[in-house]
């Protein structure tokens, strides 16, 4: 299960470097693509701006198959205030740009599962795949506008995998 979550994040992060190489952030003294796993970073009072934040929520298991099929729900949160040059009046456009980027990141909707606990990462025997994103209505909190996209990620539990 953890390998599937790790693979999903690394896949989206690597795709982001080609979809929009300018979407970067500085986190823990490292400049990196603007996407992070919430549970793998320090807790913060507010979501960072102009960054995709992956939050893992539901988990379902189907044991009626030769291999156990795990279904994990990933909420992708993102908020923006637009740009300073436009005094934030472009925040709707900035959100739309993030919507578009996210849809590109999620396509194609599969990736070979990797084990990142090893260095270098080891390729596993199955793939992970995911559903189309369900985009929730945009929410506005003061000058921030944001959205949550929900994706169901599926992965087979391989032998010996935790």
């Amino acid at each position: 299960m953890q390998n599937a979550k790790d693979t999903f994040y690394i896949t989206l992060r690597n795709r982001l470097t080609t979809v929009n190489p300018d979407r970067t952030m500085s986190l823990r003294a490292v400049m990196r693509p603007g996407i992070l796993v919430e549970e793998a970073e320090t807790p913060v009072a507010e979501l960072p701006l102009d960054v995709f934040v992956l939050r893992w929520t539901k988990l379902a298991v189907d044991t009626q198959l030769p291999l156990i099929l795990m279904q994990m729900t990933c909420e992708i949160h993102y908020v923006t205030v637009g740009t300073q040059g436009n005094a934030g009046l472009d925040r709707g456009r900035a959100l739309e740009a993030m919507d578009d980027e996210l849809l590109q990141l999620l396509c194609p909707a599969s990736a070979i599962k990797m084990n990142y606990t090893q260095t270098p990462a080891a390729q596993m025997g199955t793939s992970i795949f995911w559903s189309q994103a369900i985009l929730a209505p945009a929410t506005t909190v003061r000058e921030r506008i944001g959205r949550v996209a929900t994706v169901n990620v599926f992965a087979f539990q391989e032998q010996g995998e935790q």
Binding site: Y9, I10, R28, A29, V30, A40, T42, Y116, T119, A121
Partner: protein, 151 residues
């Protein structure tokens, strides 16, 4: 439209007074939990596999106090940390950061008295345009980890 054109000669009396008052009112040491200067660029570092190796960065004098005496069920208590502007400015210079905001935004939390707190907001008190004290609104961490106090 008009603006204040009067001459305002800055001197550091407010800085020194804040320092003295913070020291006199139970001055303690607060330790910012800072990431190492050379960050972890590996995949494992972004997946929660590698330890972040946060370093304690002591700031003093500081005054730490609870914001409200009553506590609500399920709500972590909130605290206020007043830190001397002198200490913060010295640290900002030492780490070659652009501002105190950058310093506090990099911090993963603050340890006071062996307990970890998360920074919710930062505000400042100024005199003649110079910051003499920083006020951090803190939320008690629910992790209950015992933190090492910075030297």
């Amino acid at each position: 439209m008009s603006w204040d054109t009067s001459t305002q000669n800055f001197d550091d009396h407010a800085l020194r007074m804040a320092n003295a008052l913070l020291r006199a009112n139970g001055g303690t040491t607060a330790s910012l939990q800072m990431p190492p200067a050379a960050g972890d660029t590996t995949d494992a570092g972004q997946l929660g596999l590698n330890a972040p190796n946060f370093q304690s960065l002591p700031l003093s004098p500081a005054v730490f106090r609870r914001l409200r005496p009553t506590m609500s069920e399920g709500q972590p208590a909130k605290y206020e940390l007043l830190i001397s502007g002198v200490a913060v400015q010295a640290t900002v210079s030492e780490l070659q950061l652009s501002s105190a905001d950058a310093l506090f935004s990099m911090a993963a939390g603050v340890a006071v008295g062996g307990k970890l707190f998360l920074i919710e907001a930062v505000s400042v008190s100024e005199s003649l345009g110079a910051v003499f004290m920083y006020r951090l609104l803190l939320r008690e961490s629910t992790s209950e980890w015992q933190m090492q106090q910075g030297q």
